[in-house]
Amino acid sequence: MKRRSRTSILIVSLLVIMVLSACGNAANNGQEAGGSSSGGDGVKVTLLNSKGEIQQPLEEAAKAFSASNPDITVEVSLVPAGQSPFERASTLYASGNPATITMLDTGDVEKFKDRVLDLSGEKWMADTVPNATEHTTFDGKNYAFPLAIEGYGFIYNKKVLDEAVGGDFDPSTIRTRDDLENLFKQIEATGKKALVISPMDWSLGAHYLPLAYATQSKDLAEVDQFIASLRAGEVDLANNAPFNGLMDTFDLMMAHNIDSASPLAGTYERGPELLGKGEVGIWFMGNWAWPQISSFDTADGQYGFLPVPISNNPEDFGNSEISSAVSKRLVIDKEFSSPEQQAAAKKFLEWLVYDEQGQDYLVNKANIIPAFSNITIPAADPLGKSIQEHIAAGKTQQSMSTLPADHWAQLGSSMQKYLAKAGDRAGLITEIENYWKNVK
């Protein structure tokens, strides 16, 4: 009896060991396969995409790239909706399985700098547009590939505005808050609504409110200085002209908002629908919204940007400049990727910038405004064109792209409170000042 039980224990434990080691082997095999494939039958590069709207063009670009580089395959995965690129990327790093190329927001790059490749020596460094790599350069080394220029402001539907002004609408006539109010009234006189405010925290907190910081001065160093004094608690926002000007404009927007009865009920999807169908004339958003607007388009693709005026003096900084900056960055992992994978990833980035096919995917299929001066293909959509025109005319201000990570969520909700009239401007100012005093 005793012997039998011993034998059975032996057998069962052998089985357990076999099962466990089988798992182990499988894992090892996987790694070996990954390793050997980089030598023999091709390198596999993974790309974590955090711009949902370009997932399909990116996948197609990856296929086209593999077609001309048969030994490299690029696999594109997407950050799930509702997760930030940082959350996803840090989770992948924690599990030891990051993508070879990760698409991050500008402000996130610094956190990853110990884990990603120094790209200062890349060929494309010589062809970047101004201000493209400043925010991702630390100790003289640039760690990220600037992917796209994005801009935001008031998007207008030209058909609605033509009807409102009775003729050909000229965007350069809107230079002050009074001009804007007048335009709102003209639109309303045609029986339509003036504008829609999309109440998402990221729109209000990451795009609208930061205009108050960016319009402090034309000089970027002074804007940085302003942020530093906000952190130190030395700024008196209640008497700050750009901030109050911006909020006065916001009051005006609230008064003419199509959703003013229930301002927080709107969703992102409602904005492009109302604007595209011409039910409103103006929507505060950025050029990334083009795919959604185009699916409702009734104005023959005639859209453009108006700046958000912050005062009644047409000469003030911000009244004729729309906000734009390089917004998405690609970084290449150096911890878990093999040298072959890193080289392949670099090759892919170079392909995007210098290969005609790559440029075509970037500009025409993904509707991206590239941050490289050697790419001369004009933007494919009206919003991108409008931004390029503003850039060419020098009518842009730098978007705030290195705000603290939770700025959009915390102050976005403060802006929502203001939008819903659940709080007044004094309350908003207190919340903004307290946020900056406590943020790390």
Binding site: S5, E87, S90, K111, L264, D406, K440
Partner: protein
């Protein structure tokens, strides 16, 4: 079986408990202890270095007014949800053990929401609250439905409670049905012969005999509602303006959004201790109510 001693006995036991123990230790105990370690550091979730900061993170937890505010909100939410879940579940179970026609279909129907994941469920109800109800409200001119419930802090809170009740009532109902079927018929018959009416039977016989079911259901609903995250995320995202941000969501945001992993982890630990204390107290006191048939 012959009694085994020493190593042999340990080996036999390990053989059967070993695999589970291994899984439990690696996926529960190790991360838990590592998490406790992280509360003493200033790690931001990604950097390769971190330094020891002592109890600073815990100090921060007690200074974080928003954490305690969302904990208070969670307490309210838990209270209303637990009461309503169990009241609705018991009522359903009571009706559905009376031998109605098609009662198994009803049981399956009420259980169904529990099979839908919290995220999907949240999105479905988001659509109902902000589109369907608003559409009917505006068509029929009912003021309470003409604006989205999710845009108003108070109504958004009640939307969360409603969806939670809808989600869990069916699950708890199944447990109550099992409990109700376990009430011996002989004592009920004896009570009928003694002239007890339905209400008296329910109060004096059925309810006391069902205390074990109540303990389980209240424990489960307490624990689940305290830790609510998915419905909260999909339905309201903590909005409007953070007025429905439950404590789990706040902790998650602290760790991953504000990139304050140490403080987030410390808050998670404080939350763990509080919830463990509350549920243990509940189980301890309700155990005392149990009776023998």
């Amino acid at each position: 079986m012959i009694k085994e001693k020493g190593w042999n006995r340990l080996l036999t036991r390990l053989l059967f408990t070993g695999p589970t123990l291994f899984a439990f230790v690696t996926v529960m105990i190790v991360p838990f202890l590592y998490g406790i370690y992280l509360t003493f550091t200033n790690w931001d979730g990604i950097s390769t270095t971190q330094s020891y900061v002592g109890f600073q993170n815990y100090g921060e937890v007690f200074r974080d007014a928003v954490f305690w505010k969302s904990f208070g909100l969670t307490l309210q939410y838990v209270f209303f949800s637990v009461v309503l879940i169990n009241a609705v579940a018991f009522a359903l179970a009571y009706v559905l053990t009376k031998g109605l026609k098609g009662q198994s279909i009803f049981r399956a129907g009420f259980f169904l929401p529990n099979l839908v994941g919290g995220i999907v469920l949240g999105f479905i109800w988001q659509f109902i609250f902000s589109n369907v109800l608003v559409y009917f409200g505006q068509q029929a001119g009912i003021p309470i439905f003409s604006a989205s419930w999710l845009a108003d802090p108070d109504k958004a809170f009640w939307s969360l409670v409603i969806v939670t009740v809808w989600q869990y009532a069916g699950y708890m109902m199944v447990i109550y049905v099992a409990g109700l079927m376990g009430v011996p018929n002989d004592i009920l018959e004896a009570a009928s012969i003694d002239g007890a009416n339905g209400w008296t039977k329910l109060r004096r016989m059925v309810l006391p005999l069902m205390v074990p079911s109540f303990i389980v259901c209240i424990f489960l609903s307490l624990q689940r509602t305290f830790m609510v995250y998915d419905v909260n995320l999909a339905l309201t995202k903590g909005g409007p303006f953070k007025s429905t941000e439950m404590v789990s969501m706040h902790v998650y945001g602290k760790a991953f959004l504000s990139r304050d992993y140490g403080v987030g982890q410390a808050e998670a630990l404080v939350l763990f201790v509080l919830v463990a204390a509350i549920t243990l107290i509940q189980v301890y006191f309700s155990k005392k109510l149990e009776v023998e048939a």
